[in-house]
Symmetry: C2
Subunit: 367 residues, 2 copies
Amino acid sequence: MKEYRFRAKDLKAYIVRFFEHFGLAEENAAIVADVLVTADLRGVHSHGIGRLHRYYGNRLRAGLIDPKAALHLIKETSATLCFDAGNGMGQLAGYRAMQACIDKARDVGVALATVRNSNHFGIAGYYAMMALEHDMIGISLTNSQPLIAPTYGRTRILGTNPIAVAVPAGKDDSYVLDMATSVVPMGKIAFYEEKGEVIPFGWGMDRTGSLTRDPHAVQDGGCLLPLGGTDEMRGYKGYGLALLVDILSGILSGAAYGRNIGSPGSVEGAPVNIGHFFMAIRVNAFRPIEQFKADMDLLIQQLKTAPKTVGHDRIFVHGEKEFERMKAYRRDGIPIIAPVFHGLCQDGETAGVPFDVKPIALKNSEV
Amino acid sequence: MKEYRFRAKDLKAYIVRFFEHFGLAEENAAIVADVLVTADLRGVHSHGIGRLHRYYGNRLRAGLIDPKAALHLIKETSATLCFDAGNGMGQLAGYRAMQACIDKARDVGVALATVRNSNHFGIAGYYAMMALEHDMIGISLTNSQPLIAPTYGRTRILGTNPIAVAVPAGKDDSYVLDMATSVVPMGKIAFYEEKGEVIPFGWGMDRTGSLTRDPHAVQDGGCLLPLGGTDEMRGYKGYGLALLVDILSGILSGAAYGRNIGSPGSVEGAPVNIGHFFMAIRVNAFRPIEQFKADMDLLIQQLKTAPKTVGHDRIFVHGEKEFERMKAYRRDGIPIIAPVFHGLCQDGETAGVPFDVKPIALKNSEV
């Protein structure tokens, strides 16, 4: 597929203007822009600029997200924070709540923050990774619109509720897990339909509750399966993890949960009232950071130097592929496929913020 | 298979005598006994009295576990604790570290504890569930002997490193997730071999790294697959979770990790230096506990009343089956299969603590 390459800073500048147009303060627009472009830099295009209109612009225009909302602290102890985002942008809530966690963990070694009354916050990994430069472990969870069926169920009750954890290492890249608790996200199912291919058995079910290989049947009233997939493959564990994320993000925070969460792509209905959960752990509350990082490197080396299966010459640590992509995209530009580019142009006109960013000349178009 | 039924309190009394014989103080022996019998009461017989000799008695006798060890506090903040178990019984370390977490969370809302230099601690869920009566959320993790291959690897690097989380509910039973991060534990593979059956594709690989349906090939130098299973089914997520548990339990605590962890069933070599991680979250640091529990009940109701797949008339919440089993086993006795019973008799003689517990008359042998 034809793709254009853009400089990260050019996309960021456009996104800042875009959100300023919709009433965000410049400082806040810059935070949201950084979260979105970081997703594209890491190769998670499903949570990058491609969602600018559908998840954010359209909803701001419809009055379903408050561009001026401030994060309110509802309750606090020396190690915990309970926030209400006032139906503002999820990225702002996530950024500020995680920052507050990090500040508290500096004092007492660990801190938790919940956020209620928020919106889609982009990649969960962004907030977890904020802990890294402070030599802390970061955790970030969020609930989301229902798409997963519980084991033995056939309707959408739980979101693909991601778990993101970032852990600093020494010479090696940090460990960054950022995973949906379904086998795959719905976007992956749509991608198979676009390609005209069937999906592997165990990714989804149709509206009658039968496992299906037809990507359309999953999207058309069917469900995603939780991580693990079928009962035989212990899908109830993924179901348990999706439920756990909903409990910590939705119930502990006082946000919506389960079937009650609205779609972030809808321009009708009420605010979605999404909930988030953040945690920061200061490593040297437990061990000297140098020892910790040295052991991280040794464990990573155990993994990377282990014998491989036939057809593979490399064992990856979580986040490693994304760090490599980031390096390549910083050098060669962020790839944006033609339909997304054209969407940005078209929707930019409608929104009153024309997408006037120029693609850069490519040195290395196959990256 | 022929099975005997025993009263929980009779088994407990025997286990207390057993550990006293090996030098544990009575108070400590009672804690270990409660952890082991609770596993049997919940139906997790792989972590109950059946492991009395192999994981504990034989190692105490070989001098590989210190029966008199005390838990030492190495480092502390108002919300964190770093312990060294002095190569004592894992159950004592787990019980006391979790208790200390709960005490701190009472003050500051959340607390974490790590433990290094410990041993196999039985079911992870026991320690997580200790939080429930305090209206707290409990989390318990431990690393363990290497059995899982990382994605694209074909050797055992990571343990089946369990994740246990307990969350209080209102009218409904608590949510208690207690899951290995492999698809299934090695004991399940052995169970298929004993039955003379093949295992489902995706549970394990043989020593060459090929997926296999032969349970013997997995046990004989093969590997377990992480939750998710194959790459297509996103086994790298289970691999990421197993790795995360090792980082939090092993590296953050300063214990052994990865390939360096010894087998708890061996009577040779050095202490295993297993690490644990515990967390307690006081719910009312975030929301009034009554509101939280009411929402837990509503989410559980959403799940339980949802339409079912063909052939199923019930959707379960994590821990529900175990709570029901506990009720039945308290009423009808704990079932112990004949080979385990005969092992207890034989090994009890050798150890100098004859297994003299009498089975009870059965009212309801088919439970």
